[in-house]
């Protein structure tokens, strides 16, 4: 036992030390950034506010009762920080971008800045925090009783609660920070983290090597069941506890405060991701040894929750006992301070302020010191929260094991998980879903776990707990709808969290969201895309800047508001102190105010002045961008696909054309070779005969020479034709056009073939007379075409009385000259091929050419802007038609 005087002196001295640390850090941080305070180690130590007196005292008690089960409370956070730090990182980023002040603020802001959600989350947080605070009061009271031997627990607990409320008010609400950061408090908590860790390790080392003879001695004769605990190790309760502790380290208001709101730099999470699990490992290291040494050394029936204190006391180690008491005191005070700050911020921002603003009509017209109101509401909230904790302690009688009380709080805050996770990862999550999930989850939690924890002393009676309301067994709080023979904790988690998540998903899927919810969902889910957001808005409101300035002064304080407005005026390039009340200014102000009073209240106040719903251009773009991106990507894909298809088709066409050309080239070369060989063979044969030894008569010599001459001419003509056609095809042959008298051209052509016509006695009929009819053509080439067509008409004419008729039809622009013979005409099959190179018709002839005449003729006609075609009168009667443009008579040419 220690004297009360010494204990009180040490406690007050310790609290004074915390005051000094917090005060100095607060003052220094106002003068400029403090390097060591911005260290990730301080950040990590502040997160260790997770380890409360429940850890300090309760973990040993849990280990003594249930063996290894206590580690689940630390394995859950370890798994979150090691494997899920990216989730925490996203929360931190969202909180920074949206100036989030609490978990209630984040959830309400995500679901359309909904005040009702903010109130609901705040109420659940208050209800869940109350037993947790009671747990701290209980543990400090009991430890005080053990050390000092006092018996009046209620009075002690009251003064402890009052002292904690005073400390929290003094340091948690000394001023209104723009971001709800409390540098002094964080430093004090980091200091307390070291104290509680060292105290627990000191007791552990003393237990193992001071009381027992080392680790082997500690665990000697300890049955395996005591290590494993009564429950099924790695069984459903294990999984549930690990899940709950993992959830708690994200959702507990105080954890959200230190991990997310107090975070200065995002990369500090990287260090915390391994350093915080290491801290948890350190603090858990001696839990089991202390528990088993206590069980061996201390008298039977000793409370295992107090082994950390009673073990040194039983060995007359008063100094160590005092240090251990300070460790437990540190654990409790740090938790109470941070939890009270976090919850009071929620209560004041989401419950007191909106009501007060409504009553005072603070806004456009009415005066009122909002800062004073905010601070007062927070101070009252802190006192009320600690008062509630004290009340819970008094009603519950403080008889339950510490661990059980802590777990009630864990299940309570686990109700935030579906809305929180869904909110930052699922775009379709909406306010209706979140409200339904939270309400159903909270009600089930209260019914299955929270109310039964009073043992029938609060709201529901013992008979309801054991037999169900009105004796309906299916409604028993701890065996709901037939889920019997289940651990009450697992039962409560399955019903509350399960139903919460299920209803959240179903209602969100079935209902729609309003515009603001959809905008916020885009901003939260895609937070990494819109950090540097341009908050220019699409609303066109007319706002008086002075109204906004007055509002800012009331909430942020005169100096801060003046600084903010000056900065915004400078950004606009304005010479005045106040900026133009543009959409950007209004949106920036709303975010600054959200840092002090929460998004929902800030939104409500700004909207009251501006009279418009703020819809940021970036928000709209974010909303639109996702759909637009999908449409754009889809469109681009279809375009690419169509383009590829087109290119492939073009390639196929080109390939086919190349193949055809290649084939044509081969055919052409083959035909040319063949056509050249025939006269060449003839020339060579007759030349050999003439040169040979055999006697050749003079008549024969003359005939052979004549054949050689004819064949040479044929060869020359063939080569000329090939040359012509290659030039025409290559586009190298340009024909100068001039007015040509058609009559002269036709007559000249007939003259050229006069030999043939006379020998075949061909009757020629030209009608009407072509005299004076002028066409635009090249005289020589037109004559060549006519000779070709007319000579064909003679050569291929099989009639006994061959007859050629030249008919002419004209209009104002064109002239059509038809060459009709009575020799049978061209068949339709021949008509399709006769204009191809080396093609010959099927009509018999004594003098077949090379098959180049018609292709060349058509090419010439085309070059003269005309055409050469085969026209059919009937299936068996056809004729050739020359089409040419009509020309005016050229006087010079006529002369």
């Amino acid at each position: 036992m220690l004297s009360v005087d010494i204990l009180l002196t040490v406690c007050l001295g310790y609290v004074a030390l915390l005051f000094v640390i917090a005060f100095i850090v607060d003052r220094r941080s106002r003068q400029g950034p403090m390097r060591w305070l911005h260290s990730p180690v301080i950040y990590t130590l502040s997160i260790s506010v997770y380890c409360t007196s429940w850890t300090f005292y309760g973990a040993v008690g849990s280990a003594a009762r249930n063996g290894l089960e206590f580690v689940t409370i630390y394995l859950g956070p370890t798994l979150v920080f090691v494997g899920w730090w990216w989730l925490l990182r996203k929360l931190v980023r969202i909180a920074k971008v949206h100036r989030t002040t609490s978990i209630a603020d984040l959830i309400s802001s995500r679901y359309g800045k909904s005040p009702s959600l903010a109130v609901l989350v705040t109420l659940i947080a208050v209800t869940a925090t109350t037993p947790y605070i009671a747990l701290q009061l209980q543990s400090v009271t009991r430890s005080y009783q053990v050390i000092a031997g006092e018996s009046d627990g209620i009075t002690t607990a009251f003064w402890i609660a009052a002292g904690m409320a005073l400390f929290t008010i003094l340091f948690g609400t000394r001023n209104l920070d723009a971001n709800e950061r409390h540098h002094g408090v964080v430093a004090a908590i980091a200091f307390e983290a070291i104290v509680k860790l060292l105290a627990l390790i000191a007791v552990g080392v003393f237990a193992v090597w001071g009381v027992a003879g080392g680790l082997g001695d500690v665990f000697a004769d300890v049955p395996a069941e005591a290590i494993r605990g009564a429950g099924d190790i790695f069984g459903p309760r294990w999984v549930t506890l690990t899940f709950l502790s993992a959830t708690a380290v994200i959702c507990l208001p105080r954890q959200f405060q230190v991990t997310v709101v107090e975070n200065i730099e995002e990369r500090h999470l990287g260090t915390a991701s391994w350093l915080f699990p290491l801290y948890l490992l350190g603090i858990s290291l001696f839990i089991m040894p202390i528990a088993f040494v206590g069980l061996k050394v201390l008298p039977a029936g000793s409370n295992p929750d107090l082994f950390v204190l009673t073990l040194p006391l039983s060995e007359q180690q008063n100094g160590l006992a005092l240090f251990a008491f300070l460790g437990g005191f540190s654990s409790a005070t740090s938790m109470v301070i941070v939890a009270a700050i976090a919850v009071s911020t929620m209560v004041s921002n989401h419950i007191v302020m909106p009501v007060a603003l409504q009553l005072l009509s603070v806004g456009r017209n009415v005066r009122g010191d909002v800062r004073w109101l905010l601070l007062t509401s927070r101070r009252v909230s802190i006192a009320a929260i600690l008062g509630l904790g004290f009340l819970y302690f008094r009603i519950s009688g403080g008889s339950d094991a510490l661990a059980a009380i802590g777990l009630i709080a864990f299940v309570g805050v686990a109700q935030f998980l579906p809305s929180l996770i869904g909110g930052i990862f699922w775009r379709s999550a909406n306010r209706a879903g979140a409200l339904t999930g939270l309400i159903s989850g909270a009600l089930l939690w209260a019914y299955t776990l929270f109310l039964p924890s009073f043992g029938g002393d609060f709201i529901i009676s013992l008979s309801v707990i054991t037999d169900g309301p009105w004796g309906i067994a299916a409604l028993r709080p701890q065996a709901l709808f037939g889920l019997t023979d289940m651990d009450p904790l697992v039962h409560a988690v399955i019903w509350s969290v399960g139903f919460n998540a299920l209803s959240f998903v179903i209602v969100s899927s079935l209902t729609g969201a309003n515009a603001l919810e959809r905008l916020q969902s885009a901003l939260f889910v895609n937070v990494y895309r819109s950090v540097e957001e341009d908050m220019s808005n699409v609303t066109a409101q007319t706002v008086d800047t002075e109204d906004l300035f007055v509002l800012a002064q009331r909430i942020l304080g005169q100096a801060h508001a003046a600084r903010l407005f000056e900065e915004m005026a400078r950004a606009q390039g304005s010479a005045h102190d106040l900026p133009q009340a543009t959409d950007t200014v209004v949106a920036r102000l709303e975010r600054e105010l959200a840092g002090s009073i929460g998004a929902a209240s800030a939104h409500a106040m700004v909207t009251r002045i501006t009279g418009y719903q703020m819809v940021g251009m970036t928000e709209l773009i974010d909303i639109a961008s996702e759909t637009q991106q999908l449409i754009e990507t889809s469109r681009q894909l279809s375009e690419k696909s169509a383009e590829l298809e087109r290119t492939a088709q073009e390639l196929r066409n080109v390939n086919e054309r190349l193949r055809a050309l290649d084939s044509q080239k081969d055919d052409f070369l083959s035909q040319v070779s063949h056509e050249l060989r025939t006269p060449m063979t003839s020339i060579r044969s007759f030349s050999e005969l003439l040169l040979g030894d055999e006697e050749v008569s003079e008549d024969q010599q003359a005939r052979f020479t004549s054949i050689i001459h004819d064949e040479s001419q044929r060869l020359t003509r063939l080569l000329d034709e090939i040359l012509d056609i290659s030039r025409l095809e290559a586009g190298l042959l340009s024909l100068p056009l001039e007015p040509v008298e058609m009559h002269a051209a036709v007559t000249a052509a007939f003259d050229s073939i006069a030999g043939m016509t006379h020998s075949r006695k061909v009757e020629i009929d030209i009608h009407p007379a072509l005299t004076g009819l002028m066409v635009s053509a090249n005289a020589d080439r037109l004559r060549q075409v006519l000779i070709n067509v007319l000579s064909n008409a003679v050569k291929y004419n099989t009639s006994a009385k061959p007859r050629i008729e030249v008919r002419t039809v004209t209009d104002s622009k064109e002239v059509w000259v038809d060459v009709v013979d009575n020799g049978g005409g061209v068949t339709r099959a021949d008509a399709a091929t006769i204009f191809e190179k080396f093609a010959r018709g099927n009509r018999p002839s004594t003098d077949q050419g090379a098959g180049l005449g018609l292709p060349i003729s058509r090419a010439f006609m085309n070059a003269m802007n005309g055409d050469l075609t085969v026209e059919f009168v009937s299936e068996s009667v056809s004729f050739f038609r020359l089409s040419l443009a009509r020309a005016e008579a050229n006087p010079a040419a006529a002369q």
Partner: protein, 59 residues
């Protein structure tokens, strides 16, 4: 819980420490080492961008 957990529930000791207890703490240490290595690797590859918080106007 996966059956693999039960493999280590043997009634023996490791340096005087019951095996299940030793197993859990060893896994815990491995998790921390793995987490630290992962964070270092990510920071080296610039996976965790240092973000300077400009919202702190209280200083």
């Amino acid at each position: 819980m996966p059956p693999i957990g039960a493999i280590f529930l043997v009634d023996t000791t490791l340096f005087g420490v019951p095996f299940p207890l030793a197993y859990i703490f060893v896994v815990w240490v491995l998790l921390i080492v793995g987490g630290a290595s992962l964070v270092k690797a990510l920071q080296d590859s610039d996976g965790l961008h240092p973000t300077t918080d400009t919202s702190d106007t209280s200083s």
